[in-house]
């Protein structure tokens, strides 16, 4: 009796959190093939990579939930590192503020054009991507600049646990971002409206949801989280760089879709996006650890990620079909 009662519950849990099941399977498989994969050091490295992806993905997730897409996040990330590396010379807080303001401004710009002029988000954010990456390259033609040490120490404040430097703030950022995303999307009115807009925009409008405002807020959050990720990356690399953000546009879209959020909008949860970000970071870590492949190892990452993505999407389509 207990068994039969438990198993549907377990099944429900497994379908709701497929990514985490996948993550655990991946970890088990990796530790079978590679010695010492599950170590504290590896986990710390995974958290450090995962935090940046999760931050960018939060905004991307909200935008995709409304049925849009934000291609400008990578460029905004680069722009934020460039601005921080310039303005932190005079004042740390000024650098942070300017970077965040730039992200917010580009997000606002995207949101206004997408919602008021009704132009496809893909095209709008492609245009603003060009503008943002052009600005980043203009302000900082080559990696360099100054990121204040106190800022770096704050973001990567770490304590020693078993001979491993454990970055507490970084871990905290990841946890807080996850909690924030979950609360906003599931427990707040804004979240409900986001799902409504993504589910069926016309119905949402008829029900009195301020569709335009919801979209603008989502794009603003996306610009803001991309800028936050930029600040985080600038603390990690200790410089401002015009192209450091380029891969993050893809990373964020991969994490969001791998996490089961529908690219058409309306369906998905941020906590699964975080799970997908952990998978992406784990694949990267694993490939770096397989020493035999040498430098080539990192390129395998992309193959594995691409194949993973297709498998998960096809599987989720099958599940939804039934």
């Amino acid at each position: 009796m207990v068994q039969s009662k438990l198993s549907p519950k377990l099944k429900k849990f497994a379908t709701a959190y497929t990514v985490y099941v996948l993550l655990i399977l991946f970890w088990i498989a990796s530790s079978l093939f590679v010695k010492n994969f599950i170590t504290l050091y590896n986990m710390v490295t995974i958290v450090i990579v995962c935090t940046s992806i999760s931050l960018v993905s939060l905004g991307q997730n909200m935008v995709i939930l409304t049925g849009g897409i934000d291609l400008s996040v990578g460029a905004v990330l680069s722009l934020a590192t460039a601005l921080a590396s310039i303005f932190m010379k005079s004042d740390t807080i000024l650098g942070v503020a300017v970077a965040l303001a730039a992200g917010l401004l580009i997000g606002l710009f995207n949101g206004l054009i997408v919602s008021k002029l009704k132009i496809e988000p893909f095209i709008v954010t492609l245009g603003s991507m060009g503008i943002a990456s052009g600005l980043a390259l203009y302000l900082r033609p080559a990696p360099g600049g100054y990121i204040s040490p106190e800022f770096i120490n704050l973001v990567f404040y770490s304590i020693k646990i078993f001979d491993v430097n454990f970055p507490i703030t970084c871990f905290l950022i990841l946890v807080l971002t996850t909690i924030f995303g979950e609360i906003v999307l599931l427990k707040r009115n804004l979240g409900r409206m986001i799902y409504a807009v993504g589910g069926n925009e016309q119905y949402a409008r008829l029900m009195g949801v301020p569709v335009d405002r919801v979209k603008i807020i989502c794009y603003c959050i996306s610009g803001l989280t991309a800028a936050l990720a930029g600040l985080y990356i600038s603390a990690m690399t200790r410089v401002g760089s015009p192209s450091v953000g380029d891969p993050f546009t893809l990373y964020s879209i991969i994490a969001v879709t791998l996490g089961g959020t529908s690219i058409q909008g309306g369906v998905g949860r941020y906590i699964n996006t975080v799970g997908a970000a952990i998978i992406v970071a784990s694949i990267e870590r694993l490939m770096n650890q397989i020493g035999v492949l040498g430098i080539m190892g990192s390129w395998f990452t992309w193959i594995v990620e691409g194949i993973f993505l297709v498998i998960v999407i096809v599987l989720s389509m099958k599940v939804k079909g039934k």
Binding site: F122, G130, I131, A136, L250, W299, W302, L309, M317
Partner: protein, 323 residues
């Protein structure tokens, strides 16, 4: 009503052509020597490379899809062509095209039958191919282009380079296919209303599959043009998403040409002008000595301005119809 709309849309194609001419005149005034046969045919030669990929992109966008893997397929050619084209030319050339078509076919199968959203599928393909290209090539550039491939790309036929001629022939070919054959009508119908197309008996899945295969094939040709033009294959040290900038410029060319991003309206003729306009703009900015940063910025801004103009034109059409 439809004919009226079509008339209005062809009016904005005229605007684009006029603006292109205006751009030419401005370029000549700012940088004398811009309108010389040699320079213009050089611009057309560069345009043909991305333009060929943009042609495939046009077909995909017409059905309401999108293909982000076109640039990666181009780089795939830079990886495999130098190793295949050692002595022979024709067979390796055909193999290269077949490989491109195969990658497109994989996209097509998963999009049409497994119903993976096009953007996700082509990102996955791009990601996986990026890894494959670097492992296969070892990041080392291969041999110089085969003399015949080089001839196929840069040799001049009259004032035009041969790749330009091939590109223009392909555009005319696909224009005829789109407007004079049932298959072409299927493609356009699919983009304007997939549900209605299915109900009216159009083979939706097969048509979807075919456009992605064609896009892969044309991207492979674009990649070979690229190889023939550059002569020495090289790989930028990009992390992830190799060739995404080419995918974006192909999409920009299609959209600037006035093909609706949601599908159904537009065609290769528009993409020709869209690609040419963007290349003219880049050339002008280079001639004015703008750094790459400002060129990126202007490119993005111009894309937005043009899309907004199209949108406003569309709105004015709707308003005049109502009144």
């Amino acid at each position: 009503m439809i004919s009226e709309l079509e008339m209005k849309i062809s009016r904005d194609l005229l605007i684009l052509v006029a603006v292109s001419f205006g751009l030419l005149v401005v370029s000549e005034l700012l940088a004398p020597g811009f309108i010389e046969i040699d320079h213009l045919s050089f611009i057309l030669e560069i345009t043909a490379i991305v333009g060929t990929a943009a042609l495939g992109q046009t077909l995909v966008i017409l059905t309401g899809g999108i293909d982000l893997s076109v640039g990666t397929i181009m780089y795939l050619m830079l990886a495999i062509a130098p190793r295949l084209m050692r002595e022979e030319f024709l067979l390796p050339f055909l193999i290269c095209l077949a490989v491109g078509a195969l990658v497109g076919a994989v996209n097509g199968i998963l999009i049409a039958w497994a119903r993976v959203p096009p953007i996700v599928q082509t990102i996955a393909t791009m990601t996986a191919l990026t890894g494959f290209i670097f492992i296969y090539s070892g990041g080392v550039s291969g041999a110089k282009a085969h003399p015949l491939l080089r001839a196929m790309t840069v040799n001049q036929i009259g004032p035009l380079h041969s790749c330009t001629v091939i590109w223009i022939i392909l555009i005319i070919f696909f224009y005829i296919i789109l407007h004079r054959t049932t298959y072409g009508r299927y493609i356009q119908a699919l983009g304007s209303n997939p549900r209605a197309s299915y109900l009216s008996g159009i083979k939706v899945k097969l048509t979807t599959f075919s456009v992605y295969t064609l896009s892969g094939l044309l991207s492979a040709l674009a990649g070979l043009f690229f190889y023939g033009y550059a002569n020495i294959p090289y790989y930028p040290s990009q992390t992830g998403g190799l060739g995404i900038d080419y995918a974006f410029s192909s999409i920009t060319a299609v959209v600037v040409g006035g093909t609706l991003f949601t599908g159904g309206k537009g065609g290769p003729d528009r993409t020709f002008f869209g690609a040419l306009f963007m290349q003219l703009l880049v050339s002008l900015l280079v001639m004015l000595g703008l750094p790459q940063a400002l060129r990126l910025l202007v490119n993005g801004a111009i894309l937005l301005v043009i899309v907004i103009i199209y949108k406003l034109l569309q709105k004015s059409i709707k308003l005049t119809k109502l009144s």
